[in-house]
């Protein structure tokens, strides 16, 4: 058995810095500093047992945390029926015999909960902390608090913060909806109409979207309660908006008789400035690199839609990936991973879109879906999961993919859900 610690990758920035070191890093143990769980090599993921939680909402908390840890795809969540004796003190011997590597113990407090992660091999508490659970059991803010608790536990166990305390915005029935990462508490933030292409502000507290109106399309920013303000008035085509990484601007596609070009407008409104040079072609679906210095977008400049990357001002545009065959002659809808290292996009194969991921260092393209049609991939903040609109069940619905293992889970049973966007990790 070897002792491994995992480097805490809190931010894309840190991840970029450590990228040359090769991802996981073995650190010298420092007294009093624990960066991850001790568990055996070769077995893959640590086995985690979430102990029963006392109190009226205890079982809800336990169920949500177990599901969050499972959805994170970094640990193996052991079943509730695991026969670890319930007692005030953790029986590390019994846990070891049951193949448990880590125990998540949650103790409700007034207005919150204390979460304690036990390292079974080290026979001691790895980390403990307290999370606020506002708003009463099962209310939306309470659930988000439980998700934060899950993310904390996942971070202590694996060194990487979870993605449970996040939201996903999507389009269904012409409205923008926002749901939690586990598909619960979906709420519409627009009236019935023709709203499209939601994208989160870097704070996660507002969403920019396009709305098709009778006389043209317009761009709006809405908070998560549905209070919206118009940023771009309907005049011709105004679609596929996205915030700049610092949240100060909005890039979008504006179309007129001479083609559709990318523009940048202040998030507060004002006069848009053109940032693509399509010379009469159609350019849509912009997305910035996390450092804001590069731009990926869909363009028809070569005669068929394809994904390009350019400098933030639209100059130096290059095809993202060479065509490997004529069958891939329709590629679009890029999304830049939050760690900056990859771009997801969709590519038409045999008449259907599939989600693809290209790593920017070596430009290797990997097809990450094959069942049904899979469209508009959007990254989770961990740069490991993607949400796609997939017809694999026979109806177009949202699915979350783990691109490391290929595991897929259905996010929400909403027919026709599409054009989704994943929020950053949420502080509240």
């Amino acid at each position: 058995m070897s002792i491994r610690f995992r480097f805490p990758l809190f931010r894309a920035f840190a991840l970029l810095l450590c990228a040359p070191l090769g991802g996981w890093v073995v650190l010298q143990a420092q007294p009093g500093v624990r960066l991850g769980l001790i568990y055996g090599e070769g077995g893959g993921r640590p086995g985690i047992y979430v102990a029963p939680v006392s109190g009226a909402a205890g079982d809800s908390i336990r169920t949500i945390v177990m599901r969050d840890l499972d959805f994170g795809d970094r640990v193996t969540v052991l079943p509730k029926a695991t026969a670890l004796p319930a007692s005030a003190t953790i029986d590390y011997n019994a846990a070891t015999r049951l193949g448990i590597n880590g125990i998540v113990q949650i103790v409700p407090t007034s207005g919150g909960a204390t979460v304690i992660v036990h390292d079974v091999a080290a026979r001691q508490v790895l980390q403990r902390g307290t999370v606020a659970l506002p708003g009463g059991a099962n209310a939306a803010p309470w659930r988000m608090g439980v998700h934060r608790l899950s993310d904390l536990a996942e971070e202590w166990i694996t060194g990487v913060r979870g993605i449970a305390a996040t939201r996903i915005a999507y389009v269904a029935d012409g409205r923008i909806w926002v749901t939690d990462s586990d598909g619960a508490t979906a709420v519409p933030i627009t009236q019935p109409g023709r709203a499209l292409s939601p994208s989160f502000h870097p704070s996660g507290q507002s969403v920019v979207y396009a709305s098709l109106e009778p006389a043209g399309s317009a761009i709006y920013v809405s908070d998560l309660r549905g209070a919206a303000r118009r940023v771009v008035a309907p005049s011709g085509l105004n679609i596929s908006p996205v915030f700049t990484p610092d949240g100060s601007g909005i890039a979008f596609a504006h179309g007129d008789d001479f083609g559709t070009e990318l523009y940048l407008v202040s998030a507060g409104g004002g006069s848009p400035r053109r940032i693509s040079i399509g010379r009469g072609s159609d350019n849509t679906s912009p997305v910035f690199s996390p450092d804001g210095r590069r731009l990926a977008f869909t363009s028809g400049r070569s005669g068929h839609p394809d994904v390009y990357i350019a400098d933030e001002d639209g100059t130096n545009a290059d095809l993202l990936a060479a065509l490997s065959s004529a069958a891939q002659a329709y590629r679009s809808s890029p999304d830049w991973s939050p760690d900056g290292r990859a771009i997801a996009f969709q590519s038409q194969l045999g008449g259907r879109f599939q989600a693809m991921v290209i790593t920017l260092r070596d430009r290797v393209v990997k097809q990450v879906t094959s069942e049904g049609a899979n469209e508009d991939p959007a990254w989770a903040p961990d740069s490991r999961h993607l949400v796609v609109s997939s017809s694999r069940s026979g109806v177009r619905q949202l699915w979350v993919l783990d691109i490391e293992t290929g595991r897929a889970r259905q996010l929400a049973r909403v027919a026709g859900a599409r054009l989704s966007a994943w929020s950053p990790r949420l502080a509240n």
Partner: protein
């Protein structure tokens, strides 16, 4: 396909015209002559009845001819509107006006020229196969392409608005070639000036 759609439309229109027309005049029934020995009174009554029937039938014929003239005008207006509103279809991932599209657009030209107050909105649409977002740009390109065809032939650009709905408003549902073909289109909506259309001369 597109041409046959137009032809089918014209056939339907002519059927529609036919349906508006009244049935051919029926000859007014003339009372049969009684076999009983004709008296003067009876003869007079019969004559009077024949006269009445004749007058009635003339009046009916006159009313029918008036009605026929009015319905022809209404049908003509409906015909003009139908020609103006007839969609134009496009090939896959293309916005060039096809031969069939040219025929449909050419038919709109004289009506637009004769009715200076007419204003149109062209909406561009796509089939469901491409990217939802890119399809909005393609839809706009189709609407703009149809407008350019008209403006190149003398119709002021200011009389025609363009808008795109991409794949958001399909004319036909389904994921097959026949639905795709009917969805790749530009639609024409009369915004104003369509109430008292003049027939082009």
């Amino acid at each position: 396909m597109n041409r046959s759609t137009v032809l089918a439309g014209l056939t339907l229109m002519s059927l529609g015209l036919g349906a508006c027309r009244k049935k051919p005049l029926e000859v007014a029934p003339v009372p049969t002559t009684p076999t009983a020995a004709p008296g003067t009174e009876a003869m007079d009554a019969q004559r009077a009845a024949r006269e009445r029937a004749r007058a009635d039938s003339l009046a009916r014929a006159h009313a029918d001819s008036l009605a026929r003239a009015a319905s022809a005008t209404a049908a003509e207006a409906a015909n003009l509107r139908a020609v103006l509103e007839a969609p134009v279809y496009f090939d896959y991932d293309a916005s060039d006006v096809t031969d069939a599209g040219r025929t449909a657009l050419d038919a709109k030209l004289p009506i637009l020229r004769s009715n200076g107050a007419l204003r149109l909105r062209i909406s561009g649409h796509t089939d469901s196969r491409g990217s939802d977002e890119y399809n909005l740009a393609l839809g706009l390109r189709r609407a703009a392409s149809a407008r350019k065809y008209l403006s190149d032939r003398g119709i002021a650009v200011g009389r025609i608005d363009v808008v795109s709905f991409g794949e958001e408003r399909p004319a036909a549902s389904g994921d097959d070639e026949s639905a795709y073909t009917r969805n790749r289109r530009a639609e024409f909506e009369i915004l104003s000036g369509g109430d008292a259309l003049k027939v082009p001369r």
